[in-house]
Symmetry: C2
Subunit: 107 residues, 2 copies
């Protein structure tokens, strides 16, 4: 695959946008209204952030009446996983599994 991960890195570089993504990951599908409430920014700001996440392939939307539900698209992180997996070889050849690295970093 090896797709260009720039858009994904950019989308996740903003704390507000990452908070939206994390909330959708934890709590599942949410309306714009529900995402706006605890965010501390205006509804148009949330709409723009959601559009950014959508352009990066990280979320999908579903219209139902006057509401729009957003949910995480897990495949959107493929480029990120690929990038980290690919370059981890150069940093830590001694780790033959990414999982091992994760365990060590947790300590």
């Amino acid at each position: 695959m090896r797709t260009e991960p720039t858009s994904v890195f950019k989308a996740l570089a903003d704390p507000t946008r990452r908070a939206i993504f994390e909330r959708l990951s934890r709590s599942g599908e949410q309306t714009v209204h529900a995402l706006t409430a605890p965010s501390g920014v205006s509804q148009p700001a949330i709409s723009k952030h959601l559009n950014g996440l959508k352009s990066a392939g990280l979320v999908r939307d579903r219209r139902h009446g006057r509401e729009t539900f957003y949910r995480v698209d897990p495949t959107g992180l493929a480029s990120l996983f690929n990038w980290m997996d690919y370059y981890s070889h150069f940093w830590h050849e001694r780790f033959d599994k990414l999982e091992d690295l994760l365990k060590r970093l947790d300590q």
Copy 2:
């Protein structure tokens, strides 16, 4: 740990900066001069990018005479690994290993 990964995401979101990081990963320690040559941008631009990577904890520098050598600091990616590991639980509960997810995404 669960440190704030914003600075790392930001640092890697720029293609020029990511190219520098990737080159340092592949080829090891490099001077600013060596990094500037194939980059397509000016030396001050490279210096600024290196400073950004350094602030994010992704590289370290070593002065030797009039040259400055930069190298990857592998621990700088800890927050990124942590973030991805933590949230991968919410996306794909059925994957009990991150490694499995990587394999599937490669197809």
